[in-house]
C-alpha cells in the first residue's frame, strides 16, 4: 500500500457531490429530481470507472484493435486504486437513491454527511451501510455501556483470530501454490482452492468483525455482513449469508428495479445474471472476476430451474428421511460449487484459472508439502473455526466460552484466544484481501 494524500480529494469529491445532490433531490420533483439523482450516480460511477476500470477497458480495446492490426491511441493511466473506493462509493450512492425514493431525509449537516461516507471502521472494506441505519446514530448521544464495549472487544478479538491465525496462515500455502500453478498437480490445487475458500472467508469476515466491534465499542451499530456462509444449503442461501451488505445493495438497487422475481422466468434469469456479472466486475477489473460472478449467477439460475427436480430426486433417494444427512450433503455440495468458482477469484490470470481446472480433472499426485508445519497449522486453524461456527450454527444453547456465566471460564477463554494468536498468528503484515476492491 502507498500513502497518497491527494487521494483524499476523491473522497472529498464524492462527499460534496452527494451532499449537494441529496439536498437538491429532496427540494425538487419529477424530472429535475431524477436529474440530480442521475448526476450523483454518474459522478460516483465515473470515479470508479476512472480509477478502477479505465485501464482494464483500455486494455481490452487494445486487444480488440490489435485483432484488426490497429494500434490503440488512447493512453493508459498510471494511477493507484484508492483504498476502499468501491465500498464508500456504493455507500454514497445508496444515500442518493434512498433520498430519491423518499425513504431518507437529506442530511443538511455537511460534517455529519462526510462522517457517514467516511466512517472509519467501515471505510475501507464495509459493511456497506444504509443511511437509515447509520446517519441517525451520529445524532444520538453515546454513553459508555459496559456490555456493549465488552461485546465489541470480543468481536475485535475474534476478528483478529480469524485474520491472523486462519486467513494469513492459509495464505502462505495458497500463495505458494497459486503463484506457481504450472508446477503443482491437481490434488495440490484442490487443497489450495479449499484453503482459499476458508482464507477469503476468514480474511473478509475477520475484517468485518473488527470493523463492527470497533464501531460497537464507540457506541455505533453496523449491520452484520456474514452469517456463517460455510453452512449455506444452496448457492442462493450462500449469497444471503456472504457479504450481506453488498448482496442486499445489489438486490435493492439493481435487482428489484429490474423487476426482481416478479417477471417471466427468462427475464428473471437475465436479471440474476446481470446482477452477478456486475457483482463480479465490482470486485475487480479483470475477466477472472467477471467469470467468477457469471459462474455464481449460473449456479443460482440453475438452482431455480432445477428446484422441483431436486426435491423429487431427494425423495427418490430417500435422503429426505434423514434430515441431518441431507443437510450435510447440501452443505458440502454448496461449498464445493462456491469453492470451484473461487478458482477464478484467486487465479492470477484467466489462463492460470483454466490451467488449474484442467489439472484438477486430469492430474493427480502427492500433495505439495514444503513445510509440514504449515499444513498442520492450516488444518488446525480450520478445525478451530469449524468447531466454533458449528456450535454457533447448530448448538446455540450449548456451553459457551465467551458468553459463559462463569467469570473464570470467560477470562480463560479470552486469554487462551490471545495465546493462540501469539503462538499461531502470522504477524508479517498481510493485507486484507478486500482492501484491493
Amino acid at each position: 500500500m502507498s500513502f497518497v494524500p491527494i487521494y483524499i480529494l476523491i473522497l472529498g469529491f464524492t462527499i460534496v457531490v452527494d451532499y449537494i445532490s441529496g439536498i437538491y433531490i429532496s427540494r425538487n420533483e419529477g424530472q429535475k429530481r431524477k436529474l440530480y439523482l442521475i448526476i450523483s450516480l454518474i459522478s460516483n460511477i465515473s470515479v470508479l470507472a476512472v480509477f478502477k476500470y479505465y485501464n482494464f477497458l483500455n486494455n481490452n480495446l487494445t486487444s480488440f484493435l490489435h485483432g484488426f492490426a490497429y494500434t490503440n491511441p488512447i493512453p493508459y493511466l498510471s494511477i493507484l486504486l484508492p483504498i476502499g473506493l468501491s465500498f464508500h462509493t456504493f455507500q454514497a450512492m445508496s444515500y442518493s437513491i434512498e433520498v430519491y425514493r423518499g425513504k431518507q431525509k437529506p442530511e443538511t449537516h455537511f460534517g455529519i454527511f462526510a462522517l457517514y461516507v467516511m466512517f472509519y471502521p467501515q471505510l475501507v472494506a464495509g459493511p456497506i451501510e444504509r443511511p437509515q441505519n447509520l446517519l441517525h446514530q451520529f445524532y444520538e448521544k453515546h454513553y459508555f455501556n459496559y456490555s456493549r464495549v465488552v461485546e465489541g472487544l470480543k468481536l475485535i478479538l475474534w476478528g483478529f483470530f480469524k485474520k491472523l491465525v486462519i486467513a494469513d496462515r492459509l495464505a502462505i500455502y495458497v500463495n505458494s501454490v497459486y503463484n506457481n500453478v504450472e508446477h503443482h498437480n491437481g490434488t495440490t490445487l484442490i487443497l489450495a482452492t479449499i484453503f482459499f475458500s476458508f482464507q477469503i472467508y476468514c480474511d473478509f469476515s475477520g475484517y468485518a468483525d473488527i470493523a463492527i466491534g470497533t464501531a460497537k465499542v464507540m457506541g455505533f451499530d453496523l449491520m452484520t455482513n456474514f452469517k456463517r456462509p460455510i453452512f449455506a444449503k444452496s448457492t442462493g442461501e450462500h449469497w444471503k449469508r456472504w457479504h450481506i451488505s453488498l448482496s442486499s445493495w445489489f438486490k435493492d438497487y439493481l435487482y428489484f428495479p429490474m423487476g426482481g422475481s416478479r417477471v417471466s422466468a427468462s427475464r428473471l434469469y437475465y436479471n440474476l445474471m446481470v446482477v452477478f456479472v456486475i457483482s463480479g466486475l465490482w470486485h475487480g477489473a479483470n475477466w477472472t472476476y467477471i467469470i467468477w460472478g457469471s459462474i455464481n449467477g449460473v449456479y443460482v439460475v440453475l438452482a431455480i430451474m432445477t428446484r422441483k427436480h431436486w426435491i423429487k430426486f431427494n425423495t427418490f433417494i430417500r435422503i429426505d428421511k434423514f434430515p441431518r444427512l441431507q443437510l450435510s450433503y447440501q452443505i458440502i455440495i454448496t461449498f464445493a460449487l462456491i469453492t470451484f468458482s473461487r478458482i477464478f477469484f484467486r487465479a492470477n490470470s484467466l489462463s492460470d484459472a483454466l490451467l488449474v481446472i484442467e489439472k484438477i480433472f486430469t492430474e493427480t499426485g502427492r500433495i505439495f508439502i514444503e513445510n509440514p508445519s504449515v499444513l498442520i497449522f492450516c488444518f488446525l486453524s480450520i478445525l478451530m473455526l469449524l468447531f466454533v461456527e458449528l456450535k454457533q450454527e447448530f448448538y446455540k444453547g450449548v456451553f459457551s466460552f465467551f458468553s459463559n456465566d462463569n467469570l473464570i471460564v470467560r477470562y480463560i477463554s479470552y486469554a487462551s484466544l490471545v495465546m493462540i494468536i501469539l503462538i499461531m498468528g502470522v504477524f508479517d503484515g498481510g493485507q486484507f484481501i478486500y482492501f484491493q476492491f
Binding site: F144, Y146, I376, F377, Y411, I412, A415, L422, D428
Partner: protein
C-alpha cells in the same frame, strides 16, 4: 456510568494481568524447550551462537549448509571446521550470527556463501529474521538487525511467546529422538544424497531487480567485522546447475565491495565443472554429496593458493593463521 467505567477498568486490568501471566508462563515454557532441542535448524543456530569454537566457519543459506563439507576442510587444512549455514537465511541472519560469534571468540577463517539475487528487494528476507527472535533477549548486539524486520518488532517482543510464534511444532519435534534421524548433521553440514533427474528444459530468464541497500549495508558490515578483527574472509558464490549469462547485480556488488576491502571473492556460479552436470546436483540449486565433495576440494585449493600468495606479499598479523598456512605449505 462512572460505576460502569470503574468496573470496566478493573476487569480490563484483571484481564491484562491474566494475559501477562499466561504469556510469561507459556513463553518461558517455550523458551525452555526451544533451547533444550538437540537437533534441527534451531538447535544448530543455538549451537553456532553459544558453543562452536571452530577455527573455520562457513556462513550462508541452504546452499552453504549443503555445499561445504567440514570434514574435508578439517582433513585438508588441519583446522576445526563448522558449517553455520541455515536454510532460508539471508545476509541479515549471517551478519547477526557473526556478531554473536565474534563476541565470544575469533575464528581464523570464514567463508560467506552468497546466492544470486542476495541483495534484491524482497519482503521474505525480512520475514526470515524471525529465526533470530528467540535470541533477542540474550544478545543485545543483534537488536538492530532484528528490528529491521518491522517497525513494531520491539513492541511485539514485549511478549514472551512472540519469539516462538509459529515454532511450537518444530520445538516439539526438535526435542524428540525422531528428529535426529530426519536431518543428518555433520558439523552443521547437511549432505544431499539424492541426484536429480536431468530437466528437459529450464527457465534461465533472469531480470535484475531493484537492490536493497539495507542488505548491501549489512553485507559491508559483515566484511568490516571480519576485516577489523583480523579474520581471513572469503566470499564465495557456489555453483549452479544453470544460471543466466546476465550478470547478477548482487554478485557484481558483492565482488566490488569485496575488492574495496581487499577480500577475496570466488565466483563458481558459471564453473563448467558443475554447469549442466545433473549427476552433481540434488536439485537445480543444491549440489549433492558428490558435487559437494568436488566443490569443497576446489574451494580448499583456492584458499591454499591464495594463502601462498598472501605469504609472499603481505605480513600476516595473527599467529594462528601463520601456523595454519605453514601447515598448508607442508601439504605441498
Amino acid at each position: 456510568m462512572g460505576n460502569q467505567f470503574s468496573i470496566f477498568y478493573l476487569k480490563m486490568f484483571t484481564f491484562i494481568l491474566v494475559v501477562y501471566i499466561a504469556d510469561f508462563s507459556v513463553g518461558n515454557v517455550l523458551k525452555y524447550f526451544y533451547f533444550k532441542q538437540n537437533s534441527g535448524f534451531q538447535y544448530r543456530t543455538t549451537y553456532a551462537m553459544q558453543q562452536t569454537n571452530a577455527d573455520f566457519l562457513i556462513f550462508g543459506s541452504s546452499r552453504a549448509s549443503h555445499h561445504y563439507n567440514p570434514e574435508i576442510i578439517e582433513n585438508s587444512l588441519n583446522l576445526s571446521c563448522y558449517n553455520v549455514g541455515r536454510d532460508g537465511s539471508y545476509i541479515f541472519y549471517h551478519t547477526a550470527l557473526l556478531k554473536v560469534i565474534l563476541n565470544r571468540y575469533l575464528p581464523k577463517i570464514i567463508i560467506l556463501d552468497l546466492v544470486k539475487g542476495e541483495f534484491r528487494q524482497e519482503r521474505e528476507s525480512y520475514d526470515r529474521i524471525s529465526n533470530l527472535l528467540p535470541y533477542y533477549d540474550s544478545y543485545p548486539e543483534i537488536h538492530s538487525i532484528i528490528e529491521l524486520r518491522n517497525s513494531y518488532e520491539k513492541i511485539k517482543l514485549c511478549s514472551k511467546i512472540y519469539p516462538y510464534n509459529s515454532d511450537i511444532l518444530s520445538i516439539a519435534i526438535g526435542n524428540t529422538e525422531f528428529n535426529k534421524g530426519r536431518w543428518i548433521d555433520i558439523k552443521g553440514f547437511s549432505p544431499w544424497y539424492k541426484t536429480m533427474d536431468c530437466p528437459e528444459k529450464i527457465d534461465t530468464s533472469f531480470f535484475n531487480t531493484k537492490i536493497d541497500n539495507v542488505k548491501v549495508s549489512q553485507y559491508e558490515n559483515f566484511i568490516k567485522e571480519c576485516k577489523y578483527k583480523g579474520i581471513l574472509l572469503y566470499i564465495v558464490v557456489s555453483p549452479y546447475y544453470l544460471i543466466s549469462d546476465i550478470t547478477d547485480n548482487s554478485i557484481k556488488i558483492s565482488k566490488d565491495l569485496a575488492g574495496k576491502y581487499n577480500i577475496k571473492h570466488f565466483d563458481f556460479s558459471q564453473d563448467t565443472t558443475f554447469k549442466l552436470k545433473c549427476s552433481l546436483f540434488g536439485d537445480l540449486t543444491h549440489l549433492n554429496i558428490e558435487g559437494t565433495r568436488i566443490f569443497t576440494q576446489k574451494v580448499i585449493e583456492k584458499i591454499i593458493k591464495d594463502n601462498q600468495l598472501n605469504m609472499q606479499y603481505t605480513k600476516n598479523k595473527r599467529e594462528g593463521v601463520i601456523s595454519a598456512i605453514s601447515s598448508l605449505d607442508g601439504m605441498h
